[in-house]
Symmetry: C2
Subunit: 104 residues, 2 copies
Amino acid sequence: MRVCFLLKVSPEKVKEYKTRHAQIWPEMLDALSQSGWRNYSIFLRPDGLLVGYLEADDFEKCRAAMKNHPVNARWQAEMSGFFEPMPGGADDNMFPLDEVFHLD
Amino acid sequence: MRVCFLLKVSPEKVKEYKTRHAQIWPEMLDALSQSGWRNYSIFLRPDGLLVGYLEADDFEKCRAAMKNHPVNARWQAEMSGFFEPMPGGADDNMFPLDEVFHLD
């Protein structure tokens, strides 16, 4: 399955968010892969609107696996201050979108 | 390369937009494939914010190839009334985002 979600980075923290992701911890990449996140990209609009895209066999399982991963807890503790609340978002502020079209 | 762009569908036209894309013309799918658009998905937020994701060898070439495709001209003529202007968007209203992270 393909998953797309939105997040909102505070505009004044966009530059630092990019820097952090250019230096993401190798153990965080391993944790994502082990949790089943594949072909995962993050895209950013200059004002901080963030789009995540990934492929997974079962996203709810992947999301839960990451949520319970100790490396992720440390990463999210560093990241939580970067985000603004997203109207309609989940408690992790992620707002999943519906897929309305796909072409292989 | 991976490409992500935004578009804005008028909120009152979201339902019809979904219906049209569930019945997209086979020749439009062929035109996209021939123009090099791969693994192309469209995601939609209920208010009409649209996210497109695709993979391509050279997106500018793919975009130009579609722009010049006669099937696309017919499709876009039907679709143009669905979109609202996107601040900062191109003349086709597409707003491309920067990729800031990727994990295979």
